[in-house]
C-alpha cells in the first residue's frame, strides 16, 4: 500500500519537474524569479486543448501551443527582463507577476474559467508490478520529462549555446569580456525555457486529462517550491525537489486528507527556507539580481 503511494507520489512529482527546472534555469543563469512560467505552463495546456477542440491533429495542436509559449517567452524577455537590467531588484519579479495575471485573464476571456477535460490521446492502460499499479500516461509523462531534463543538461554541457549560458551564469561581466553576446544568448534562453515549460504543460494535460485557466497557479507555485527545495539554480536538485513535492502531496492526501496538501507542501517550503535556504542540494550559481 505504502509502496503504491510512493509510486503515485513520483508520478505526480513528474508534473512538477519540468516547471521546477524552468524556474531554476531562470534563477541560476539570470537570477530572475520568473513568475510568468506558471502562466506559460497554463497557456500551453489551454491552447493545445483549444486547438484539439477546433479539430486540429495533435502534432499541429501541440505545435501551436509551443509556438504560443515561445511567443510569450519572447514577450517576457523584451518587456520584463531586458528593460529591468539596472532597476530595483523587485521590478522584474513584479513585472513577470503582471504577465501571469495577464495570461490568466486573457485565457478566461477567450476560453472561460471552467475546468476542461482534455481528450485522451494515448490508450488508457496500466502496468502491474506485483501489487503496484502504474498509469501508462503518467509513466510516459514522467519518462519524457526526465528525458527532456537530461537533454537540457547535456546541451548545457556540450553545445556552444550551453557553454555560453554557463559562462553567463558564472559571471556575466567576464562572459561579456570573453565575447559572449549576452543579449542574444539570454533571449534564446527565454525561448528555450518557455518551450520547456510549454512541454511540461502539454505533458500534464496528456497525463491528467484536464486543463483550466488556473492550472498554472496550482501546479506552477508548487514548481517554485520544488525549485527551492532542490536549491535555486540546481537542475537535478529541481528534479529531486519535484519528485519530493509529489511524494509529500500524495502522502499528506493519504494520511491527512486532500485539504492538507497546501499546508504540508508550503509548510515544508517555509521550514526549509528558514532552516536551509540554500536548498537540500545547494545552489549552483551566485546571485547578482533578484
Amino acid at each position: 500500500m505504502i509502496s503504491q503511494q510512493i509510486v503515485n507520489g513520483f508520478m505526480l512529482g513528474g508534473v512538477y519537474v519540468m516547471i521546477a527546472v524552468a524556474f531554476t534555469l531562470a534563477i541560476g543563469v539570470l537570477n530572475f524569479l520568473n513568475f510568468s512560467i506558471p502562466g506559460i505552463f497554463m497557456i500551453a495546456g489551454m491552447v493545445s486543448w483549444a486547438a484539439l477542440r477546433g479539430g486540429q491533429h495533435w502534432p499541429i495542436a501541440f505545435g501551436i501551443a509551443l509556438a504560443a509559449s515561445a511567443a510569450v517567452g519572447v514577450a517576457v524577455y523584451l518587456l520584463t527582463y531586458r528593460p529591468s537590467s539596472d532597476s530595483d531588484p523587485e521590478v522584474p519579479l513584479v513585472s513577470s507577476l503582471g504577465f501571469l495575471v495577464l495570461l490568466e485573464n486573457l485565457i478566461i476571456l477567450w476560453l472561460g474559467s471552467d475546468q476542461q477535460s482534455f481528450p485522451a490521446l494515448i490508450v488508457d492502460f496500466n502496468w502491474r508490478f506485483g501489487s503496484i499499479i502504474i498509469g501508462g500516461a503518467q509513466l510516459l509523462s514522467l519518462v519524457l520529462s526526465l528525458a527532456f531534463v537530461i537533454a537540457l543538461s547535456l546541451s548545457l554541457r556540450f553545445t556552444n549555446l550551453g557553454r555560453q549560458v554557463r559562462a553567463i551564469a558564472e559571471n556575466r561581466r567576464t562572459a561579456t569580456i570573453l565575447g559572449v553576446n549576452v543579449g542574444s544568448v539570454v533571449s534564446r534562453l527565454f525561448v528555450l525555457s518557455a518551450l520547456f515549460t510549454g512541454i511540461g504543460g502539454i505533458l500534464f494535460a496528456i497525463s491528467y486529462l484536464q486543463v483550466s485557466s488556473s492550472m498554472g497557479e496550482s501546479i506552477g507555485f508548487k514548481g517554485i517550491s520544488a525549485m527551492i527545495i532542490g536549491g535555486m539554480g540546481n537542475i537535478w536538485g529541481a528534479v529531486a525537489g519535484g519528485l519530493l513535492i509529489g511524494l509529500v502531496e500524495i502522502l499528506s492526501t493519504q494520511f491527512l486528507g486532500a485539504d492538507f496538501v497546501n499546508i504540508s507542501v508550503y509548510g515544508l517550503l517555509l521550514a526549509l527556507l528558514i532552516a536551509k535556504p540554500e536548498g537540500l542540494f545547494g545552489p549552483v550559481a551566485a546571485r547578482e539580481k533578484l
Binding site: P83, S84, V91, P92, L93, F99, V101, N105, R287
Partner: protein
C-alpha cells in the same frame, strides 16, 4: 450617494489599507508576497470575536490587527534570517499555509466560508482607512523612514552606523501585517462573509502590483496605486477579466518604462544622469 458609489469607495478604502500593509515592509526592503495571509488572520480573528465572543466590532477589528501583528512578530525573527528573494518566497509560502489552514479550520466554517453577523457601515471602513493613511504619513515624518531606507539600500552600512537592522526589519514586517490584519477585519464586517479562498496568492499579488505601480519612494505612492487599481477599471466599466488583463498590461508596460513607480522623490528626471555618474566613478 448611490450604493454603487459607496461600494467603490469602500473598495478603495480596503485596497488602500492593504497597500500600506505592503508598503511599510517594502520601504525596509522586504517584498511581502503573503499579505493576504495576514489579512485572513485579521478577518477570521475579528469575525470570530464578534460572532462567538460577542465583542463590539471596533474592539474586534483592533484585535484582528493585533493578532496579525503578533503572528508576524513571532515569525519575523526566523523569517528575516532570509533576505531578498528568499524572504519574498518565505512570505509567499506563509501566505499559502495560512490560507490553507483556514480552509481546514472547521470552527470558522472551513471550506464552506464563514458568515459574519455584525455589520459595519461604509463610513467606518473609510474612517479606518483615513486613520491608517494618516498614521503612515505621520510615520513618514519621523526618522524611522530614513532608517528603513538605510536598511533597504545598504544593510551593512546601516549596521555599522549603529542601526539595529534586525529590529527595524521585524518592526516593518509586524506593523505592515497589523495594518493588513485591520484591513481584513474591516472586509469581514463590511461584507459579512469571508472564505479562505479569497485570501489567496492573487490578492497578495494584486496588492503588490498596485503598490509598485504607485511607487514606493513616496508615502503617497500606495494611495495613488490603490486609487488607479480601483477607479480606472470602474471608469472603463468592463468585465472583471478585462479589468485585470488591462491592469496587468498596464503594470508590464509601466515597469518597463518607469520602474520606479508613478510617484518619486523628484529624482526620476535625472535618474539616468545620476546612474551614469555613479557608474563612471565606482568602477
Amino acid at each position: 450617494m448611490s450604493g454603487y458609489q459607496t461600494g467603490i469607495i469602500v473598495l478603495l478604502a480596503l485596497n488602500t489599507i492593504a497597500a500600506y500593509g505592503v508598503y511599510l515592509p517594502m520601504s525596509a526592503g522586504q517584498l511581502n508576497l503573503g499579505i493576504a495571509g495576514f489579512m485572513a488572520i485579521g478577518a477570521y480573528a475579528a469575525a470570530y470575536l464578534t460572532n462567538a465572543c460577542g465583542w463590539p466590532p471596533s474592539a474586534a477589528i483592533g484585535a484582528g490587527g493585533a493578532t496579525a501583528a503578533i503572528l508576524a512578530f513571532a515569525v519575523a525573527m526566523p523569517m528575516l534570517r532570509t533576505q531578498g528573494i528568499y524572504l519574498s518566497l518565505a512570505t509567499f509560502a506563509l501566505g499559502q499555509v495560512i490560507s490553507a489552514i483556514f480552509l481546514n479550520l472547521d470552527i470558522v466554517g472551513g471550506a464552506a466560508g464563514y458568515p459574519v453577523a455584525t455589520h459595519i457601515e461604509a463610513s467606518v471602513v473609510v474612517s479606518a482607512a483615513t486613520l491608517v493613511v494618516s498614521l503612515v504619513w505621520l510615520m513618514s515624518t519621523t526618522r524611522l523612514t530614513v532608517y528603513f531606507a538605510a536598511v533597504k539600500n545598504d544593510p551593512l552600512v546601516a549596521d555599522l552606523l549603529g542601526l539595529n537592522v534586525k529590529a527595524l526589519g521585524v518592526a516593518a514586517l509586524t506593523v505592515g501585517a497589523g495594518i493588513a490584519g485591520v484591513g481584513g477585519a474591516l472586509y469581514a464586517h463590511y461584507f459579512n462573509y469571508i472564505e479562505a479562498q479569497y485570501f489567496g496568492v492573487m490578492l497578495s499579488t494584486y496588492t503588490v502590483l498596485y503598490v509598485l505601480l504607485g511607487g514606493t519612494q513616496s508615502v503617497w505612492g500606495p494611495l495613488v496605486g490603490a486609487a488607479i487599481f480601483t477607479l480606472v477599471p470602474e471608469a472603463l466599466r468592463s468585465s472583471s477579466q478585462w479589468r485585470y488583463a488591462i491592469f496587468a498590461l498596464f503594470i508590464i508596460v509601466f515597469m518597463a518604462l518607469r520602474p520606479q513607480g508613478l510617484l518619486t522623490r523628484g529624482l526620476s528626471r535625472q535618474r539616468t544622469q545620476a546612474r551614469a555618474q555613479s557608474g563612471s566613478t565606482n568602477s
